[in-house]
């Protein structure tokens, strides 16, 4: 009888510990952080917001995308994936952030010394690998 009680207690302990067993193989999930705003433009302010919004650039311009996030977390990765004409990857940049307050703004920028080819471009913003939004623009 006593053996059964010990066995039950042991099973309970194992089940309680099970959710923590794989913690070394996965990064922390940022459940409290979300992307609230994405803007594209030609320049940014000191606060990393877009100073000159546009979706039509010139070949000599620098592209800026400003990403506002809300929430906090010890570590999150923002990615800006820039593509050209529906698929050709132009660049992919990442920034690791650890927002501590309620709001933060992160900017990514991209330039090309010899000028951008004209056409349609797109920037996709990802938060911890999951798409958080896209913005399309063109170079004329």
């Amino acid at each position: 009888m006593r053996m059964h009680q010990y066995a039950r207690a042991l099973v309970g302990l194992v089940l309680a510990a099970a959710p923590f067993g794989c913690s070394t193989s996965k990064p922390a999930v940022q459940t409290g952080l979300k992307v609230t705003h994405i803007d594209v433009g030609r320049s940014v302010t000191a606060e990393k917001t877009i100073a000159e919004k546009t979706d039509s650039f010139r070949p000599a311009d620098t592209f800026y995308v400003s990403v506002a996030t809300d929430g906090s977390g010890p570590s999150a990765t923002l990615t800006a994936r820039w593509t050209y004409q529906g698929g050709q990857v132009v660049d992919e940049s990442r920034q690791d952030i650890a927002p501590t307050g309620s709001a933060a703004v992160t900017e990514f920028h991209l330039s090309k010394p010899d000028g951008w080819p004209t056409g349609e471009y797109k920037v996709e913003v990802l938060l911890n690998g999951a798409s958080a939004g896209t913005r399309e623009f063109k170079v004329t």
Partner: protein, 101 residues
Amino acid sequence: MGIFGDLFGKKEKPRPDFSNVRSGGSSTAPTPAAVGGPATIAPPVTTGRTYVVVAGDSLSRIAKREYGDAQKWPKIYEANRSIIKDPDLIYPGQELRIPEA
């Protein structure tokens, strides 16, 4: 594609060269390194060695094997951010840089 393109009078446009684009960024949020977490955009690792992923591997398993500590998997992840999109997804045949412990 090229044959059919020629047959129908179409010519494929050459793909633009984006190899010289310059990217960057900044944030009002602190980096994980600044608050004691893993390092931010890691500079390319020039020391260490290469490890080829085999079936059944995970970053924590490689970290356990290489460093004796599975918790050190972020060190390998940070050194290979250019090829690892998701730390939970690595593929057999991938060549990972293993930074020195």
